[in-house]
């Protein structure tokens, strides 16, 4: 039988109350009160940041004596804090410009490497048939439960002593100094990011329709071509959201950078310097406010420019097409 009756759908949805639980919840979340409440929550959430922002422009004496809200009765603004923090020459001031560059040098490779490796691994784990594939994936997945802190010492010893087994050196020590320490940070960040990145991208890549891969194979594409021409363009939203996550994590990271790069001026990122400002110059926290905003600027730019993908990336798995 070929004749099928066309199903009349979408007629009776508009006015009836939604039948499912999810439908009711969705409807309530769309109401005006819900919108108003969420706007209020958002405002309350923003107040501390706003206070910090305002403080960063107030003169030193004002900051130390009064709260930021007194600004409205006694408006006085200055760029002194930023000036000191970014370009100050004395060792007690920030000199953040230098650390800012370090942060960028650390972050960019630490974002690109894990994403590149994870995309390749996720493709292989999803679409190449080989023995033990599922166990390998489960292993990678399980690695997520290893806390970062547990891996610090072994990784550090791996860098400084290399790997030896029963007196035989398998890998020599890395012997990295000064700027070379960046490599250690990149390596560490890549290692720590990979399990989650593989997991996330695997979810995306394995949900691409199999017929697409088959069509590409029939068209004459090999794995590398399929990966580049079919898979990569289709998972850009996932790559972008992963990039945002990883970027924020690396940019805000203090622990890994401090341990693997040390606090030296040539290699330490912004976060290390900010921590020092707070620790050694606790009294001068007018600089802290400005410093914090300098370090926020880049994540803000990244987030706003990739936000489009971010939202889409979170939805891609659930919504077809």
């Amino acid at each position: 039988m070929t004749t099928t009756t066309p199903v009349l759908a979408g007629q009776a949805t508009a006015e009836q109350p939604p039948r499912t639980m999810a439908g009711r919840v969705r409807k309530r979340l769309n109401s005006r009160t819900a919108t108003a409440v969420s706007i209020i929550i958002a405002l309350i959430w923003t107040v501390p940041t706003f206070g910090l922002f305002l403080s960063s422009f107030r003169p030193e004496d004002d900051i130390k004596q009064t709260g930021w809200w007194t600004f409205f009765t006694n408006p006085q603004l200055t760029l002194d804090n930023y000036n000191q923090v970014l370009f100050g020459r004395s060792s007690s001031s920030g000199q953040l410009a230098n650390f800012f560059v370090n942060s960028i040098v650390i972050t960019i490779p630490s974002v690109l490497f894990p994403i590149a490796f994870a995309a390749l691994a996720a493709y292989a784990l999803s679409w190449i048939n080989f023995r033990g594939r599922d166990w390998l994936y489960i292993g990678v997945f399980a690695l997520q439960i290893v806390p970062l802190q547990m891996a610090l010492v072994p990784l550090l010893s791996f860098f400084s002593r290399g790997v030896s087994l029963g007196g035989i050196t398998l890998l020599p020590a890395w012997d990295l100094d000064n700027e070379g320490k960046f490599v250690q940070v990149w390596f560490a960040h890549t290692c720590f990011a990979l399990p989650f990145a593989v997991f996330l991208l695997h979810n995306f890549i394995s949900q691409l329709p199999g017929e697409l891969m088959e069509a590409a194979r029939v068209d004459g594409a090999g794995h590398s071509k399929i990966f580049r021409s079919v898979v990569l363009p289709l998972i850009t939203p996932a790559l972008a959201s992963l990039a945002i996550f990883q970027f924020l994590w690396v940019w805000n990271d203090l622990l890994v950078a401090l341990i693997f790069a040390g606090g030296g001026r040539e290699v330490a990122p912004l976060t290390v310097r900010l921590a020092e400002l707070a620790g050694t110059r606790g009294g001068e926290w007018q600089r802290l406010t400005a410093g914090a905003f300098v370090s926020i600027v880049v994540p803000m730019i990244v987030f706003l420019s990739l936000q489009r993908y971010f939202v889409r990336g979170l939805l891609t798995g659930s919504v077809k097409g």
């Binding site: 070929t2 017929e211 088959e214 069509a215 004459g220 594409a221 021409s229 363009p233």
Partner: protein, 363 residues
């Protein structure tokens, strides 16, 4: 231009006992349009995918034009495939979709352009070359999928239920388009469908499969007129043939008081090989008449009458050996019975099919 030969080709999915395709022997001629048809899970798609190289061949071999392709990867087989959901690359325009395979073969830009334009012209896709698949309707996507296969100028076209995502009207239209396109290009085509009307209208020959086993390969006409077993008889034709297993007498098959005459040889064959005194008789709804109460027809109580406009299908039941059996008869609109009436059904002589009651094979 190529022939395709399956020799004892078998596919057993890992972890299953029963082969998905069981020792398939099939020869497809040069330029032939062969349709593989069967209920879902019968192995027709698997057979096609084995030919495409997307599925391993566990036993036997497959040849394209006398070249053994059994273990070659898809790209070495020179085939093009149209998928059920089209599998268009969503991030590429229609033009790029069609050009993708050619680019991979390092065809020159001018040649790619010529072939894509030509295929687009053939399929009325010229206006849409710059669009992405999501901006196309179902029918247009289907044509792009066809176009992607055509530009390859392959040795064999493989189509896996390419019409099942279209609405009924478009399906009928596209059906004829594909058939005429195939005739024009003259490329050997293997077409998989579960729809027997598609199979009967499009195929030069039709192969019916069940549970991984090939049941019969023949022209649509022969398949309809001489089904080789009970399954084929019941599968081909709509509404389905009336197939009943009844008692056998020396004169023929006994439907209550009506005797469907069988020749002496037929009766002997039915009795052999454990057939006992039963025989399976089939007659098509259109191969019987409604007769008067005294003319020796089978009394059937009408349950439902389907008025199709041109004629009508009468559904009803009759008690055979105490068991209520359903019957379908196609009748003239002028003589439509009412629900609850008793009509007398008489199969036309020489239009019935006899099958062995135990083996189901045609006698």
């Amino acid at each position: 231009m190529a022939t395709v030969t399956y020799t004892q080709a078998t596919r057993i999915y890992p972890g299953t006992e029963r082969p998905a395709v069981d020792h398939l022997d099939l020869e497809i001629g040069d330029g032939e349009f062969l349709v593989l048809v069967g209920p879902s899970g019968c192995g027709k798609s698997t057979s096609l995918r084995m030919l495409a190289g997307l599925e391993d061949v566990d036993e036997g071999s497959i040849h394209i034009d006398n070249r053994d392709v059994t273990h070659l990867p898809p790209k070495a087989r020179d085939i093009a495939m149209v998928f059920q959901n089209y599998a268009l690359y969503p991030h590429m325009t229609v033009y790029e979709n069609m050009a993708f395979a050619l680019k991979l073969r390092k065809t020159s830009k001018a040649e790619i352009d010529r072939r894509v334009k030509e295929a687009a012209g053939l399929l009325q896709l010229e206006e849409y070359l710059g669009r992405k698949p999501k901006a196309l309707s179902g029918g247009q996507r289907q044509r792009v999928a066809m176009g992607r296969a055509i530009v390859r100028e392959p040795q064999v076209f493989l189509m896996d239920e390419p019409l099942s995502n279209l609405d009924a009207k478009l399906r009928v239209q596209t059906r004829t388009q594909i058939a005429s396109l195939q005739a024009k290009l003259g490329i050997t085509t293997v077409y998989v469908t579960h729809d027997q009307i598609e199979a009967m209208t499009m195929g030069h020959r039709v192969a019916v499969m069940l549970d991984g086993v090939l049941q019969q390969v023949d022209t649509p006409r022969a398949l309809y007129d001489k089904p080789s077993n009970v399954f084929v008889a019941g599968f081909i034709g709509s509404p389905a043939m009336n197939i009943k297993t009844v008692s056998l007498t020396d004169g023929g098959a006994k439907f209550i008081d009506m005797i469907v005459p069988l020749t002496r040889e037929e009766v002997e064959k039915a009795r052999a090989n454990g057939g006992g005194d039963k025989v399976t008789i089939g007659f098509r709804p259109e191969d019987c008449d409604l007769v008067g109460p005294t003319e020796g027809g089978l009394p059937v109580v009408v349950e439902l009458v389907e008025d199709l406009g041109s004629d009508a299908n009468v559904y009803g039941h009759a008690a055979l050996d105490g068991v209520s059996e359903r019957f379908v008869v196609r009748t003239d609109r002028r003589h439509m019975p009412n629900m609850g009436d008793t009509v007398f059904v008489k199969p036309r002589a020489d239009h019935n099919h006899a099958f062995h009651a135990a083996t189901g094979e045609r006698i």
